[in-house]
């Protein structure tokens, strides 16, 4: 089933968007108990070319030092943090300064070569938080309620085909261009038809998860100078299956729904906030309105700041 949500504060100022997204996802908890995740944009305040890495590391003697050594050899670690997680894993967070964005994916792939280590993501303009378990547990583990930002997307997962772990928790991220994320409810049934041409262009797939396919598809379109609205509109024409998904970019949030309308999506908007979600109950956590729009089959909506 899965629950998806997105919120944008239109004034471009920092708001407690982590708190709002936590509440939205908690309201959607019944749609999926396996994992949950956030992409919180605008609050990191990194300098140009600085990136925050989230690395899943098994609690094994010497393994964290090996990870630090690998990263440090490539790019000096500027700051770091360790977040305890579950199942004998920690999340090692470190900030590095690259010369350019093109160095990010190779660095991630290099660190991923270490056994029992997985880079969950690397980002410049948003903070990725995703883990297994319930929204409230994850929110407490990562202090999501304290996170400030301009906009965010989030997800509660009811897993269907892919395994349940931190990496397969949503959001998924693409590195075709910086900081594109997707949360998704549904299935892309023409998965290979979408994936094949993207791989032929050289885009790297790390999983067989259809959400990863969507995020690369959207990032590829944005890289070709499609607007977010145009990319979403085209995706609805190109993708088959039951789906609704939300895209996060450094300056906006958008939602798209399949042409048969087989997965839910609702939207509400006022002068301050644009919000989208699987259900009204989540929208009511960010605005006091009874004016709810149903996203129609094949429709997409977006708001950029």
């Amino acid at each position: 089933m899965c629950g998806i949500a997105g919120v944008v504060f239109k004034d471009k100022k920092l708001h407690p968007v982590g708190k709002f997204m936590t509440r939205m996802l908690d309201a959607l908890q019944h749609r999926g108990p396996d994992s949950a995740g956030f992409a919180i944009y605008g609050g990191l305040g990194l300098d140009e070319h600085e990136y925050l890495l989230n690395i899943e590391v098994k609690e094994k003697p010497g393994l964290l030092e090996e990870v630090k050594g690998k990263v440090n050899t490539a790019f000096p670690i500027e700051s770091e943090e360790i977040i305890p997680s579950v199942e004998n894993y920690i999340i090692y967070r470190c900030k590095v300064a690259l010369d350019s964005f093109s160095q990010l994916k190779p660095l991630i792939m290099d660190v991923d070569k270490i056994e029992d280590v997985m880079v969950l993501n690397g980002a410049h303009s948003f903070e990725m938080i995703k883990d297994v378990g319930l929204v409230k547990e994850i929110a407490a583990r990562y202090n999501t309620e304290d996170k400030m930002g301009t906009h965010a997307i989030g997800h509660t997962r009811f897993s269907t085909e892919s395994i349940v772990d931190r990496y397969h928790a949503h959001p998924f991220q693409s590195y075709i261009i910086p900081d594109i994320t997707v949360v998704h409810n549904g299935q892309i049934t023409n998965y290979w038809k979408i994936r094949d041409p993207l791989e032929r262009k050289g885009h790297i797939f790390e999983t067989n998860n259809d959400t990863e396919c969507i995020v690369h598809y959207i990032a590829d379109k944005l890289a070709q100078d499609y607007s977010l609205e145009e990319a979403l509109e085209q995706s609805v024409k190109d993708m088959d299956g039951p789906f609704s998904y939300i895209v996060g970019t450094p300056n906006g949030v958008g939602i798209a729904k399949d042409q048969l309308g087989l997965r839910p999506g609702v939207m509400a908007e006022n002068n301050e906030v644009f919000a989208v979600a699987s259900e009204e109950v989540a929208l009511r956590e960010v605005m006091d309105t009874s004016d709810i729009d149903q996203i129609s089959p094949g429709e997409s909506r977006a708001y950029t700041i």
């Binding site: 309308g261 839910p264 259900e279 109950v281 009874s290 149903q294 129609s296």
Partner: protein, 239 residues
């Protein structure tokens, strides 16, 4: 509108605060309260799913806010008034009664109803009245994709526009549309209304506080099936 069984002044009223309760707890409380009360008010519903499921007593239930999915599913005889919006499948499989929604609603409004009346004052999502066997659905605004999908009886009245593939695989029943019909589904065709039907529509709509001009009634068209056996069998077997 169905007439309340007793004068409002004499009605016994019971309030249920939905906050911090599960749908199962609330539905159990509604069923208990329906034994001795005429009117039940659900406060703080917060778009919760499955409210008023399976209620089979002819009581009034007011949802003071929005309801989630499957609001008033499988009710028989209750009169439900939702002050806010409803999610997917309100009044699903209702056999008798009334569900009035003041706001908008999601997909599958009145899915599979066998009787009773569903009223949504604003827009609704897709597949309104899918597989309904009888009863009435009134939509004050627009209705989405594949409204009346495999409809087998009853009537849907849409005051606004109806989206693509209206009446897809309709077998029996009628969809009245006051606005634009974007496209028809398989086995659906458009016909003009008889004056008797317009009068019948007017009586019904006025009863639910939809006050249209005479000219608006002239704009209505109806969508009906081409055949009752569109997929297999003989025309002589149409039932």
């Amino acid at each position: 509108m169905l007439t309340p069984s007793k004068d409002v002044e004499k009605m016994k009223e019971f309030k249920i605060n939905a906050q911090q309760k599960t749908p199962r707890e609330i539905n159990r409380a509604i069923k208990q309260a329906s034994q001795e009360n005429d009117r039940i008010i659900i406060e703080n519903p917060n778009a919760m799913h499955y409210l008023i499921a399976g209620l089979s007593k002819p009581v009034d239930v007011v949802v003071d806010g929005s309801a989630g999915y499957f609001a008033a599913t499988m009710i028989h005889g209750a009169r439900v008034h939702i002050n806010g919006n409803a999610g997917w499948f309100p009044a699903d499989n209702m056999t008798e009664g009334e569900v009035i929604i003041d706001g908008s609603a999601g997909d599958g409004v009145g899915q599979g109803i066998y009787g009773g009346t569903v009223v949504v004052r604003k827009d609704v999502g897709s597949r309104t009245g899918e597989i309904m066997k009888n009863g009435t659905i009134i939509v004050g605004g627009n209705s989405g994709f594949m409204s009346g999908l495999f409809m087998m009886g009853g009537r849907i009245i849409v005051l606004g526009d109806i989206s693509d593939d209206a009446g897809e695989s309709i077998i029996r029943g009628t969809i009245y549309v006051g606005g634009e019909i974007k496209s028809l589904g398989k086995n659906a065709k458009i016909e003009e209304l008889e004056e008797e039907e317009r009068a019948e529509l007017k009586e019904l709509l006025e009863n639910y506080d939809f006050h249209l001009e005479e000219a608006d009634y002239q704009k209505f068209h109806k969508i009906v099936p081409r055949s009752a056996r569109p997929f297999y069998g003989q025309e002589s077997e149409e039932g």
